[in-house]
């Protein structure tokens, strides 16, 4: 049986792990490689590294970091943030990442999704979507959630699937940082409207939130950052809970 995945997300800035609260305040939370290794030891099923470094000159640092991560860990990982071209993708995949995630750049240039899929396969293209509920409708936001677009989330997910996305990482901006639970409605609507896996993100605050996510939506995975970083919910405890609640999870 295919298991539901628990994915810690590590936001990286200048080679360090950080976490934005509602995409604004940033607190330093450690060394990414040490943190990654500790997540692997705790039973994380996959890792996502999001580089929020804005400057191009720091991009080389990211490739070096990806190389080190790939040397150290034996589970899959995705790298995203500021990936604008097939050259960026190539450098990150060759450094050892399993997948890349594209967000604003895919909205600006959807052809990038197809290029990555053609060159490296759909399985390595994760389309990350920041979505916000505005006036009764879910819209796509870009630039770390700062810029609204006229794209409706449900239209965009179908489009990205058709042009080569292998997975969708859906973050609800309304829920992110609130610890009040995942956005179940949009997660389920998105999961039901595409045939590729959907990773739900934004709002995890309790173990029960993961149970509710997996029981009420077809999401393949739940992603969170701060609750794992600050040890609020240790991964083994979360997995034990989900196992007891009869959610199919990987048990190590």
């Amino acid at each position: 049986m295919l298991k539901k995945r628990i994915i810690p997300c590590l936001d990286i800035q200048d080679g360090r792990t950080v976490k934005g609260i509602n995409f604004v305040d940033i607190i330093d939370a450690g060394d990414p490689i040490e943190l990654a290794k500790s997540y692997v030891a705790q039973g994380a099923d996959e890792l996502v590294f999001l580089d929020i470094t804005a400057t191009i000159e720091k991009r080389k640092t990211l490739v070096e970091l990806v190389t080190h991560i790939a040397e150290e860990i034996n589970i899959p990982f995705t790298v995203g943030g500021g990936i604008n071209s097939i050259e960026d993708v190539s450098a990150i995949i060759k450094a050892g990442a399993d997948k890349v995630s594209v967000n604003s750049s895919a909205v600006k240039n959807p052809e990038l999704i197809t290029q990555i899929a053609n060159e490296f396969g759909s399985q390595c293209v994760v389309v990350a979507i920041d979505t916000k509920f505005v006036d009764g409708e879910w819209f796509v936001f870009v630039h770390g959630g700062r810029t609204a677009t006229p794209l409706k989330t449900l239209d965009w997910v179908q489009q990205v699937e058709a042009i080569g996305a292998g997975e969708i990482l859906l973050t609800s901006m309304n829920n992110d940082g609130t610890k009040a639970g995942f956005a179940l409605d949009i997660t389920e609507k998105v999961s039901a409207s595409v045939n590729i896996p959907v990773i739900a993100s934004g709002g995890a605050g309790t173990k029960k939130h993961f149970k509710t996510l997996f029981e009420n939506t077809q999401a393949s995975a739940g992603l969170a950052a701060s609750i794992f970083h600050y040890g609020e919910i240790p991964i083994p405890e979360l997995k034990q809970y989900l196992k007891n609640e009869n959610i199919a999870i990987r048990w190590t």
Binding site: L2, R5, A70, E71, N74, P76, D98, G121, I196, P197
Partner: protein, 192 residues
């Protein structure tokens, strides 16, 4: 020395990293002599079947692979290319395993991404691995079960997740990405 076959498919670096962690020396190579002289050969890959097959043929690697006498392990696309035929790009493959590769019907999410269990295990490749363990998968095509199948996985339907014919072994899952159980499987292969 372990040879990792170099071709136009991703994920090769991850295999080498896994071998390094296990303390094995390896080289990524498309040189016939280096491949045939290695103690073990790994044929990894994530990518598309027809372009990968074309690359192997252009480099003459198709015949090299078939003539390997030492233990060889195909991984993911490697397994698929070792079969007779793949629906992906309507591709005639290496014909080491007498089975066919088909696309998953869209009854569930495709690609099949994530951790899944295995069953119907035969042989030494899975020794010291708990039967309830999960391995990591990422694929949209699968090999049909045949008599050479040494483990199956159930996604939409049971498929061949590990196959063996003589010295040729292959897994659909990624042992190099399957945490400690995957490492154990790689170790089993390396100690054959």
């Amino acid at each position: 020395m372990i040879a990792i076959i170099k071709y136009n498919a991703g994920n090769i670096r991850s295999v080498q990293n896994a071998l390094n962690r296990l303390g094995y020396e390896s080289m990524i190579t498309d040189d016939k002599t280096e491949i045939l002289n290695a103690d073990k050969v790994i044929f990894p890959g994530v990518g598309e079947a027809s372009s990968a097959m074309k690359y192997l043929k252009d480099k003459g690697l198709d015949d090299v692979i078939k003539s390997i006498e030492k233990p060889m392990l195909g991984i993911c696309l490697g397994l698929q290319l070792m079969c007779d035929y793949s629906e992906e790009g309507d591709t005639k493959c290496l014909g080491i395993f007498n089975t066919q590769v088909k696309k998953f019907p869209p009854k569930e999410k495709v690609p099949h991404i994530g951790w899944n269990s295995f069953a119907e295990v035969k042989g030494e490749l899975f020794q010291h691995i708990k039967p309830e363990s999960d391995m990591y998968y990422v694929h949209s095509y699968y090999a049909e079960k045949n008599e050479q199948t040494i483990a199956t996985c159930n996604y939409i339907e049971p498929f061949a997740t590990a196959i063996q014919h003589n010295n040729f072994y292959a897994t659909q899952f990624h042992p190099e990405k399957s945490a400690d159980v995957g490492t154990q499987l790689l170790k089993n292969f390396l100690e054959l």
